[in-house]
Symmetry: C2
Subunit: 563 residues, 2 copies
Amino acid sequence: MVTNDVLGVAHSLLLKTPDLRDDHMHVVSICLFVFLLCACIVFGHLLEENRWMNESITALLLGLCTGVVVLISSNGQSSHVLKFDEELFFIYLLPPIIFNAGFQVKKKEFFRNFIAIMLFGVIGVFISFAVISTGSWYLFPKLGLNLSMRDILAIGVIFSATDSVCTLQVLNQDETPLLYSLVFGEGVVNDATSVVLFRAVQSYNFDRFSPLEDLQIGCNFLYLFSSSCILGIASGLISAYIIKTMYFGRHSTDREIAIMILMAYLSYILAELFYLSGILSVFFCGIVMSHYTWHNVTENSRTTTRHSFATMSFIAETFIFLYVGMDALDLDKWKTTQSSFKESAGLFGSLMCLILLGRAAFVFPLSALSNYSTKSPGAKINLRQMIIIWWAGLMRGAVSIALAFNQFTQGGDAKTSKQATSMVTTINIVLFSTIVFGTATKPLISWLLPPHLRSNYGDSAGLSPKVSLDVDFHMPLLMDTEHDGNGTNDRTVISQILHGLPRPQSIGMLLTAPRSTIHYVWRKFDDAYMRPMFGGRGYVRLMSRRSMDIPEENEDLEDEDQN
Amino acid sequence: MVTNDVLGVAHSLLLKTPDLRDDHMHVVSICLFVFLLCACIVFGHLLEENRWMNESITALLLGLCTGVVVLISSNGQSSHVLKFDEELFFIYLLPPIIFNAGFQVKKKEFFRNFIAIMLFGVIGVFISFAVISTGSWYLFPKLGLNLSMRDILAIGVIFSATDSVCTLQVLNQDETPLLYSLVFGEGVVNDATSVVLFRAVQSYNFDRFSPLEDLQIGCNFLYLFSSSCILGIASGLISAYIIKTMYFGRHSTDREIAIMILMAYLSYILAELFYLSGILSVFFCGIVMSHYTWHNVTENSRTTTRHSFATMSFIAETFIFLYVGMDALDLDKWKTTQSSFKESAGLFGSLMCLILLGRAAFVFPLSALSNYSTKSPGAKINLRQMIIIWWAGLMRGAVSIALAFNQFTQGGDAKTSKQATSMVTTINIVLFSTIVFGTATKPLISWLLPPHLRSNYGDSAGLSPKVSLDVDFHMPLLMDTEHDGNGTNDRTVISQILHGLPRPQSIGMLLTAPRSTIHYVWRKFDDAYMRPMFGGRGYVRLMSRRSMDIPEENEDLEDEDQN
């Protein structure tokens, strides 16, 4: 194995220089991580054709192997190369991943399923939290683990946080758009809900239960949710406005790109500064930037931002999985826990069952509720899809680990036996769920939803491709095309004629499709007020093309890519 | 001022929550820095037309203003928002700057002036070091500052390290290519030499002077220099080989970009791991990557890497200057130093004179030496150019600050009065030289070298554009075009005919131009062995175009941009 050599060198370097300073130790671990990241990319590429593997699992396994090698080469003393650092995770690794998700998400799908996503991501977390907490409170004492009420509730939150990172890799946006938008959208909202709920649990006063305090938690959540969204949207709009007004591209492409990156990060870090949810902020900032800002920059900047955001996100994801794999073998934690193998297995098994149960308890009823509320057949969720939603959201990932580190360790070290047992169980569940559910999701999808059953609008097994085409014609307003512009330019009219898309023909149709109405109102508002101010597709480009004589390129291809 | 509000909020937040945890303090400072970076970009853009300003000075002044605001809002207690962290600088900020410089440097110019660059960057540092150390040893005791021999020598090194970052902004690669390649090339080599010399001073045994030990330093330098270069070149070649062989673009553009970034960083961090010069490594890695790897990736990756490397470098540069500006007002240092104003001014003045003298002492003689050794009139340095080289290299920057922090502080705090005085003087000189020499360089160039005196090959005041065109025709081999390919494809022949460039016609011509001969041999070797193995311009693209039917685009424009 190649890693062996490098590790050997790194380790012998470590052993040979006892007066090695701390910062050089840091260099060694960075070096190892960068090397492993390269190895992950190469292996991930080689295993691309394999239906069972994906990048996350490759990274996880490579991390595990490295852990074993470090453990052996240090004579069983340590498998740690880098201490888990909440700050590293929450301040540097998570923002690019979530921002990129918002930036690349298909906005059409996301907003079409907005109600279902909110149901899953908010109500779902509370249901899952209730199931897991109650179950743990009932089962754990029987398995020899007596935790405080606060720890029990914390465990409920920790295992309700799904892993949005791994979801991105097992579901394909193009093959199963409905499932992708539901499960991934849920993941993002779920992250935010979990973090808010976790903070509430940590600060809850257990001495006096009061309905007033519970109400306060509810209000607090609403406040956090709305202000985080507003913050994200505001920074997106400001970036669009600055770039549109100052037209940076005139002097330097790099400034445009830099300001996009910095404003996106600013939305995250400002949210963290005011104790809001940075995840929600940066996600909405990504959506707004892809709708306005991205269209205001030069052609080169557009290519660069799209790919460099994806690359940053990719590197951060791989890093997280690599780290989780390496951390699994942390001997200190295994030594501190005093549970027998039987007890550990019991804990692991019962928690796993609770996770399965907790998720089932909200996916099926809430899907039914969502189906009941929606009129459009394309947005309905059938049983096969429910099973996939249930299954694909079972993975637990970096957010769970980060929350567990926060609750059960002091500066990264578990002090008591109970804490160590909780940490070890968390890591086991994250590893197991990622590997098992991660590998099995792709085959499950191709078994439950063979390609011929997938239509444009998700699966909707009953709908033939023909019928789904009809649906397309009945819902022209939901399509993210620019054909109902308010006449600011002639090209929209021309392209309308060219594409032959019908305009909304009667008020009656809008009444039967309430979501379409919202969308129609939004489009009108967008065209009348937002786009003249903040730019956006077709808007700035047309101006600049007229004034600068840039030759026209194939816009449609690119637009399809983006939306 | 806008910053005022944010700072007010940040500060009131700080004061209102006394139980604020350390990591939240960190969030506050990141937030402030990201905001200031955005402000720098906007102001820098607005001041673009101003001939006296540049981005570095904008950042420096903005940092100073912020320092004042923080100082006032904290009632004169602190101007520190972020502690200067050597690790942050050397591990995260410097690598992207130097890598980008290598990646974007005009290779043709760089290698044409290789001898002059090495003279300036290696011998120059030793001369400047000798002048400044001797001067300080003679003058400082008279100004009331008694430093140890080691500190005196350290000061000699600290003030011999020029600032390659600021040079990039005051000299224009397209307007004055000769000067740019000389001053910037010197800056990179100079950084490496200074770091090596600094380490030698820190570990030198002053009890026993021995010529053997001096010889050892020399050998050590040669070893460091060559092994760092080899490491950088090797990682560049490996990245080219991996990307060419595996053809990542087939599956994902992001993987290509990720592997380029990671391999570049690996070359830096591996060099640091083995106590080599990461700066040299990553610089040569950048050169190799732009010659081979960059041509092996897809069209989108090419655009993305070029712009995203430039953006990363730009953000890192701005960050450094912002920081240096903010650090200038550190009250703790000013309080610890016990020198009177007169003494401080004396120290500052004498050091400034020594810097001017030390640089003059090598620029003029070594330029003459370089002129003597070169036959080609285009590469000769005239007096006006010498003055600009002398002037543009007088700026002292982040490397000086980082070395001074290493020598005179313990964990960022100056403990004794002497140390505080040295630190304060260093910061003053960096601020003064950056602002004064930085603002004055552009006007000086336009005064000494008005546009009509600049030819393609630098200034060479005597050469009219006509003559310099002739020089182009006499030195076809030095041009970084691919027209002497060894016949592996027909397109080279066609483009040769199209461009009408002559092939080398006689051995005699090669003998009269020895550098051309080296270049010719290199080209032969490159075409026969390197490019079939590692890809490169025209090589991989042709293959992929044939096999994938990608339409041909305008290659020449892009190639001109790149080289």
